[in-house]
């Protein structure tokens, strides 16, 4: 029992601790990836309870910075199959429960 408890505690701890942005898949250039990641963090922190707002903000900023036709998905649970332009995808987790997917495809 103690073992189980400790395990569950540890998991809770980790889930609490694990709020940092974690990139799952990206083929972007280093500079672009960092910028996109920071943008996602900013947007998700700003719109912590409004995923649509966050997605909109990310999309519009990316369109301005890297040219049009960016697509952004922010959510806690979704499945997807997308076609993206090479060197223009970022799939990351943030905040322990949010998945952010952004890609470019004109």
């Amino acid at each position: 029992m103690d073992q189980q408890e400790s395990e569950s505690q540890q998991k809770e701890d980790t889930s609490k601790r694990h709020t940092y942005p974690l990139i799952r898949n990206s083929d972007m250039h280093e500079e672009m990836r960092t910028e996109a990641m920071e943008l996602c963090v900013t947007a998700c922190e700003k719109f912590s309870s409004n995923n649509e707002g966050a997605a909109r903000m990310i999309k519009e900023t990316l369109d301005k910075k890297f040219g049009p036709a960016w697509h952004v998905v922010v959510g806690e649970g979704f499945g997807f199959e997308i076609t993206h332009e090479v060197k223009n995808i970022l799939y990351m987790f943030f905040g322990g429960n949010q998945a952010i997917l952004l890609w470019k495809c004109a």
Binding site: S15, R24, F80, T83, H84, E85, F93, Q98
Partner: protein, 724 residues
Amino acid sequence: MDSLYFNLNHPKEKTNNIFKNIFQRGSMILVAIKADFNWVRMPFSNIAKSDRTGKKNPSPISARRSSSIAGGPRLKPGSVVPRNIASVRDDGEQDDDDANAWDNRALLKPDDQLNLTEAELKEEITRILKANNPNAPQNIVRFNYKEKMYKLIPHVEQLAIHFQMDGNLIPVDSEEAKRQLMMKKDDENSPESESEVVNAETEVKPTEEEDEDGNKRVAGQKEKKPANQFNFSDRASQTYNNPSRDRGEMTEPPPRLNFSSNATQWEIFDAYLEDYEQQQKSKEKKPSSKTLEKQKVKKTNQADQGDDMLKVAKSAKILERMVNQNTFDEIALDFKYYEDDADDFRDQEGTLLPLWKFACDKAKKLSVTSLTWNKKYTDLFAQSKGLILLYSLKNPSYPEFIYYTESGVMSLDFHSDYPHLIAAGFYDGSVAVYNTAESTQVPKYTSSARNGKHTDPVWQVKWQKDDLDGNMNFFSVSSDGRVVCWTLAKSELLFTDVVTLSLENSLESPDGGIVAALGCGTCFDFNKQQDQIFLVCTEEGKVHKCSKSYTNQFLDTFDAHHMAVYSVVWNSFHPKIYLTCSADWTVKIWDHTCKDPLFTYDLGSAVGDAAWAPYSSTVFAAVTADGKVFVFDLNINKYEPICEQIVVQKKKTKLTHIAFNSKYPIIIVGDDRGNITSLKLSPNLRKKPKEKKGQEAPKGPEYEIPKLDKILSLVRDPEAASKQ
């Protein structure tokens, strides 16, 4: 015809102008106007009198005519004309009476006529007909904005137009009329055309009649188009349309990839957990990874050094030399200060002290094929093998420059004026010029198969003075029997064949023909005083004296050796003396005016190279295939070398070349294993003869030539010399 009325108050000029205008419109009106005009010109005084008297000075014609007009039915009331002739109107009824009845008529007076006395009647009343319009307002006042007040307008328009008609008549003889006549004549179908043309009146007919007339004509014939007075015509044309063509092109779409995944809470959780574990692991590994990083940094540093070396090349070079100075400290001291004390006890013989050894891994087991000192930087010399190495005495461990060549390098020469230029001859027969000032491996100039390349190895190259055009040039000799002068033009090497070494006795081919055979040149040297004269040696052992001026003809030919001549060198001072060395073990000293050698030395092995010392006319050195260096001083011993020394470590190492430094008492010798040894000459080998106390040893060519001459004279004429 309408009646005309004129304002008599008009100034005369204006009236005339009106007349003129009317006059121009047509001749029909002219009659009436003329009549009126006459009337107008009637003296006004008469009219005035007749007004009053009625009988006095009557002007019957004028009166009658005027009445015919003035009494016309359309006389406008209030017009100016009737006022002046009002009295005349009263006589209108009598117009048709005879002239005789005129006087008998009783005067009828109107009731309201004033009864004037005789005196009053006789009184002269002058009336002036003015050009002013009495109806025109005289007192127009307008506001003047400029002066901010009402002002009287002094000048009022006096013109009053009572009738105006623009006619459409044209003179019969005018251009327009003629044209219209012509057109009408052409239209012969029209029955009325002739009469119309002649009768100008039809033109003047009122428009209504014209229309009626025109309608009639429409019924009878086609309507005629009026002439186009602007000579205007419509034209239209269509340009060709360029044929259009469809073209389609598709650009390559940007590369795309598919990506699919599921974002779920548990996946996110797992991902974080995995990452967390990895972090834990990396923390454990951190110490080791740090060391790895350090190693990496070291490696990168080493890699970077290559680039940095270029930046700090100069300082690195200095450092390298300092290190070398430390490692070869003893040798450096020997080079500078060591003098063999044993020489004092030996009578004449001297020794050679080995100093640095120059060896390069890259040149291992490559035979030294040429050695030459730089004439300006006396510490620098070049060595050629399969590659060209430039060493400095300051850095014996590694060459200053390395040039890799495609073919084996057989010969080298530094330019005396441009010490950065090196001429090189190759085994494949080509020649090239390297510029050490440029950091490229590629030669600045190179000869190709197209521009006169030798067909056999180039055994020797030598720079010559710039030619008359100021172009640098050098000579080369090759086994193909040619001596070629190469001129450095702007971007290419130009060649001139100076001499072809034809053999005296041409070979007979098996079928009886004669084959022109060429001698195989091995070496050559230019006379130091007369640089047009040079010697060319061949593998056949012959020495040809040639001149640049006479190609294909030898000034002289010596049968010098039995085997190939390896080297020929003019004496540094004496313009007539030269030495040759050969594979037949001998070194010979010659006077170029003399057929026979002055001295012959047998060295017991093939002599690879021989050289005169730059400091004395009587000293020369030779290297042999058994690894020995011989130094002769004719002044000391005419028959035996004053130094004979083995300088190679291993047996069977052949010495191939030797070169004296022009400044320091050292020689360098190259062997067939790629090593170069520098040797210091002991004091006995460079002894100045006849040193007397309190008297400086004589120096210079003035002294050196007679010194050699004296010795030579002993050889030439021993008896005479002994008598002396």
